[in-house]
């Protein structure tokens, strides 16, 4: 490796993706794609939302994001499926994108995790080169470009659908952005969920959502949504007390990104299960 210098007219500026294209001839990263592979079989098995999926490749499933009074809650289950089999029980799908934002992923796990790594580096690279951070919308647009660049892979069954949410430090509010497979970027004003259990999760959130939820209730609602999604969708993992594996729940607010401790999430699920049990007992009597 040598120091990367560029002629003035061909400087990649603060973009790490452009830098990789210039500095690194080997195909790597989500913006490249290899030789054409056979098309995904329609009977691919696992479902990541409405995407065609390729059998034999792990797929991540359900992720949710919702706004509360001072920020956003982002959460995701821990299961990856390969066809009808469980590929991983402990995969993580919610990541800090930078200090004030989170990115969650559904779809083909390999390209998705690579996309997150590229996205994180892109944001940090911009910050270090420019000496200032991108606006939240700027970050969302960057991610949209990466999703768009992945379109050829998506057509082959390796689609990635992220959710991006963060605290907008200029407007002092939490904001959520969803994406479509072609790189369309949509701001969600209340909540969104995607992945195979996304529909069930959205329904649950819809029933409990109101403007300006306190953070506690927002976390509770996210946990409930993931529980209901796991209840309805075979590809979504529920809480696993046997192994101590619980969904990842993160909060982004004025003080930045923080992931709730597993103990706290376990406690939330215990409370939720109690209340569901009581509700059933109440029905019976």
């Amino acid at each position: 490796m040598s120091l990367p210098f560029f002629p003035t007219g061909d400087d990649p500026g603060p973009s790490f993706v452009d830098l990789l294209r210039r500095a690194d001839p080997a195909p790597r990263g989500v913006h490249h794609h290899g030789p054409a592979a056979p098309a995904a079989s329609p009977a691919g098995g696992s479902r990541a939302g409405d995407l065609p999926t390729r059998a034999g490749v792990p797929h991540g499933t359900t992720i949710v994001a919702l706004r509360f009074a001072g920020g956003v809650v982002v959460a995701g289950d821990r299961r990856a499926t390969e066809g009808h089999a469980i590929a991983h029980r402990g995969i993580e799908k919610v990541f800090p994108a930078d200090r004030y934002s989170a990115v969650a992923i559904a779809g083909a796990a390999g390209p998705a995790i690579e996309m997150v790594r590229l996205f994180q580096t892109q944001l940090e690279h911009y910050e270090k080169v420019e000496g200032s951070t991108l606006s939240l919308e700027g970050k969302a647009n960057q991610l949209a470009q990466m999703v768009r660049a992945n379109l050829p892979m998506a057509m082959e069954g390796l689609g990635v659908l992220p959710l991006f949410a963060g605290f907008d430090v200029r407007r002092k509010v939490g904001r959520i952005f969803s994406f479509d497979i072609a790189g369309g970027r949509y701001e969600e004003l209340e909540y969104h969920a995607t992945g195979s259990g996304g529909r069930d999760a959205r329904t649950t959130i819809k029933l409990g959502f109101r403007d300006d939820l306190p953070v506690d209730e927002a976390v509770e609602l996210a946990v409930k949504a993931l529980y209901q999604a796991a209840d309805e969708d075979s590809a979504t993992g529920g809480p696993d007390p046997l192994r101590g594996i619980y969904p990842v729940v993160s909060v982004v607010d004025e003080s930045g990104y923080r992931r709730l401790a597993d103990d706290e999430v376990a406690e939330r699920f215990a409370v939720l299960l109690d209340s569901l049990r009581n509700a059933r007992a109440g029905d019976a009597s």
């Binding site: 490796m1 120091l3 990367p4 830098l19 690194d24 790594r117 580096t121 270090k128 000496g131």
Partner: protein, 282 residues
């Protein structure tokens, strides 16, 4: 027919070195010193936005003295190298030593082969998050690398500043003490530096992945003002007699300066820009 004059290679090198040294000497100095839980870097720099000290990677920082545009170009190349390497391999694999070697090669190459040497001195610092084995690589305009222990000084007045710092440096000192001393040795006995004249940052051990943190004007004012209120009573007593009392005076002055800072920064904000980039060299 004209023949180019013959100039001895020794003379060429000497001229270039002199040229570079002159350029660097015009800039203001920068001190980097290890302290109890990391590495402190302090520079005289009235600008809030054109930095001499910057983050390269999780545990690696960069500092430059001399011509701003030249060391900033080196800084950006360093960030690009580090991010590319960390992305290709792992974040753990990015280290200061290999980056310092790349800088050395580049500076040496420019010094011997280009018309004009770079008028810069740079520092690559790495934090040891687990122990006290921090690293300071000091690079000169001709590509000379020095692996410094404890502290180093970049920029024009480095010899006198090193002399002052050698007598007061203490291993494992706390951040406040390190900062006060570094500011005092940068200022010298005849001046005091207010927070708005300074740029400071640390690489500090902690729970966060990115260990680089800038000290804000408020941080600086607070830390520089501290001894006037508490501690240093002994120094204050002795201050009348001994020259190092400059330190005590500095602390008293910066106590006032602490209040002035807001205004100074506010005033400084507007008329500052033209003076700033030039301050580092040309």
């Amino acid at each position: 027919m004209t023949m180019p004059y013959y100039v001895a290679p020794e003379q060429v090198m000497k001229d270039r070195a002199e040229y570079a040294q002159k350029g660097i000497a015009r800039g203001r100095s920068l001190v980097a010193a290890m302290y109890g839980s990391g590495v402190l870097m302090v520079a005289e720099n009235p600008s809030r936005t054109l930095h001499k000290i910057s983050e390269i990677y999780d545990r690696v920082a960069f500092a430059g003295a001399g011509r701003y545009n030249e060391f900033d170009q080196l800084r950006v190349a360093g960030v690009r190298h580090a991010d590319t390497k960390g992305f290709a391999y792992s974040r753990e694999d990015v280290d200061a030593r290999s980056l310092a070697n790349l800088y050395a090669q580049f500076l040496g190459q420019v010094f011997t082969h280009e018309m004009k040497p770079l008028e810069v001195e740079i520092l690559v610092a790495e934090l040891d998050p687990l122990g006290d084995d921090h690293q300071l690589y000091h690079l000169a305009y001709d590509g000379t690398v020095v692996d410094e222990e404890d502290f180093t000084v970049l920029g024009g007045d480095s010899d006198t500043i090193i002399e002052r710092l050698t007598s007061s440096y203490r291993r494992g000192w706390p951040l406040e003490e390190a900062l006060r001393t570094c500011v005092a040795v940068l200022a010298g006995p005849d001046r005091t530096l207010a927070p708005s004249d300074l740029e400071a940052a640390v690489l500090e051990k902690g729970s966060t992945r990115r260990t680089f943190r800038r000290l804000t004007n408020e941080d600086l004012a607070e830390m520089l003002a501290a001894p006037a209120a508490a501690g240093d009573a002994g120094v204050a007593d002795d201050a009348g007699g001994e020259p190092p009392g400059g330190e005590a005076e500095a602390s008293v002055d910066s106590g006032n300066g602490g209040e002035d800072t807001g205004e100074a920064a506010a005033n400084g904000g507007e008329p500052e820009p033209p003076a700033v980039p030039g301050a580092d060299g040309t």
